[in-house]
Amino acid sequence: MRAKSNFPPVWLVKVFIHIGALLPLVNLYWLAYLDELGADPVKEVIHFTGIGALNLLLLSLTLSPLAKFLKQGKLISLRRVIGLYAFFYAVLHVLNFLFFEVQFDFGLFIDEVFDRPYITVGMVALLILTALAVTSVNKIKRGMGRSWQKLHNSTYLVGTLAVIHFYWSVKSELTSPLIYIILFIFLLFLRRDKFTRWFS
């Protein structure tokens, strides 16, 4: 019990999460609007929100093992807000591509999504993530009963698709996607008991 009492109030932590997730976006779009985000602000906003989504997704996957390790059950209650921000960043990532990269050329947008495997993979990840975000509402969660957990286990699929999407999108500098792949595999490794239960 002593450890738990050390944990700051959850609402306060959530305030920091909101600030930490939203402030960089305000800064990003403000600088991009002023044309002070490098020579090509479009690339910057697309990459920033993409990497941001991946960071938040991996952070949300870090919480359960971390809660166990630190014996801080309250960390679990942060998974939803961080997961939802991962979804929010991923939506912005796609909207940036549609608004600023292809600039509302819907034909080109559709072509790119279906013709480019790495974009298809990213889009599938976003669709699954959308289902997870929608079903994160308490009422729906209760209504779904046991199938909720089953559905939300697909987070691991989303993570897999997301790191593949990143790896596949780069020209030759594979180091950072590889780091993400290793981190993700490590997070899966921490859950090895869960997976062996699934498959036994």
């Binding site: 779009y29 002070e36 985000l37 020579a39 600023f100 080109l108 495997p117 999108s169």
Partner: protein, 339 residues
């Protein structure tokens, strides 16, 4: 006779620190061991912050010094297109020798030494020769050429280059009948180029960077050896002191900081083709009909001034709009096969 008695605080020319001493004061201090670890770290090669805005800082001595060049200006007709602002041309670069991020070259290349330089013209020629740094600016009449630059990554710029046609160099060397191709090579100097020291920083490329053209492509009047842009010598991040500019081909053909031009009989290897042959061909002509396997090449975003909301997507033209000048070079070729 008027005798002027200067105030004690007045500076005379004797007091002026010689510019070379002034601009070298950092390295002087470093040599003397006066700077702490923190200041030394600040020049580390992977400064990921600041995103290429270093040239706005007051720390002017760390910026590579460019000098003005005398040139004959481009015709007014060529000036009809909106130029990409100079600050963007020199801060958004693919030059993996200095790091793979677009802002890496401007951050990591400012100490690059271009003088002395030696550009060797050799191979299947009767009169091989070498150009030194001064030759690059004095041997050929320098003219301005305003070209569109189309990157294979689907962004593009419009840049006022200074330089001369590659054909002038080749003619001077007097090629033999065996000269079918021209092979180019970038400087190989891992001490100066962090990307050549580390596979991680250099994007996994085997250096030195090499490129090539067919001899008729190389002799085309559009094919340009650039020694400057926007009225001044090239900054290192754009390929100082001399680089190739082939405006109808994707940007990666326009090899930077060249030390070797060799006329050869067989098609020479080229860096991006070695790295991913299915994605980057030897010819690499700009072609909206032939997509990169992972993205469409049908249109591009023109980088000009204006932020996130500037509508800058335009259709990509065959041969980047230079078809009139170069399409005949490929008239019996299947450009889908020879992409």
């Amino acid at each position: 006779m008027l005798i002027k008695t200067p105030a004690k605080s007045t500076l005379t020319e004797n007091h002026v620190t010689d510019e070379s001493v002034y601009s070298g004061r950092r390295s002087l201090l470093k040599k003397m061991g006066f700077l702490g670890a923190g200041t030394l770290l600040s020049t580390a090669t992977t400064s990921s912050n600041a995103e290429g805005f270093n040239f706005f800082s007051s720390d002017k001595e760390s910026v590579f010094k460019r000098s003005a060049i005398k040139y004959s200006p481009a015709s007014n007709a060529a000036k009809s297109e909106i130029l990409t602002p100079e600050t963007k041309v020199i801060s958004h670069n693919n030059f993996y020798e200095f790091g793979t991020k677009k802002s890496d070259p401007i951050n990591n290349a400012q100490a690059f030494k271009v003088n002395p330089w030696a550009l060797k013209i050799s191979g299947e020629v009767n009169k091989p020769f070498t150009l030194d740094y001064d030759d690059l600016f004095n041997k050929y009449a320098i003219e301005e050429r305003i070209y569109r630059l189309r990157c294979v990554e689907t962004w593009s710029m419009v840049i006022p280059w200074l330089g001369f046609s590659l054909s002038e160099i080749i003619k001077q060397a007097d090629p033999t009948s065996k000269a079918k191709y021209v092979a180019f090579e970038t400087l190989d100097d891992p001490k100066q180029m962090p990307g050549q020291r580390s596979r991680r920083l250099g994007g996994g490329i085997d250096y030195p960077y090499v490129e090539g053209l067919r001899i008729d492509e190389a002799m085309n009047p559009l094919t340009f050896m650039s020694v400057g842009l926007y009225g001044k010598t090239l900054p290192p991040q754009n390929g100082a002191p001399i680089r190739l500019v082939v405006p109808w081909k994707y940007g990666f053909k326009s090899i930077k900081s060249i030390v070797g031009i060799k006329l050869v009989e067989k098609m020479p290897p080229t860096t991006w083709n070695i790295l991913a042959a299915k994605e980057y061909g030897f010819y690499a002509n700009v072609n909206p009909e032939v997509d990169h396997p992972r993205w469409s090449q049908a249109s591009e975003r023109r980088i000009t001034s204006g932020g996130l909301f500037s509508r800058n997507r335009t259709a990509t033209l065959p041969f980047n709009g230079y078809g009139e000048e170069v399409a005949h070079l490929y008239k019996n070729m299947d450009l889908r096969k020879y992409f």
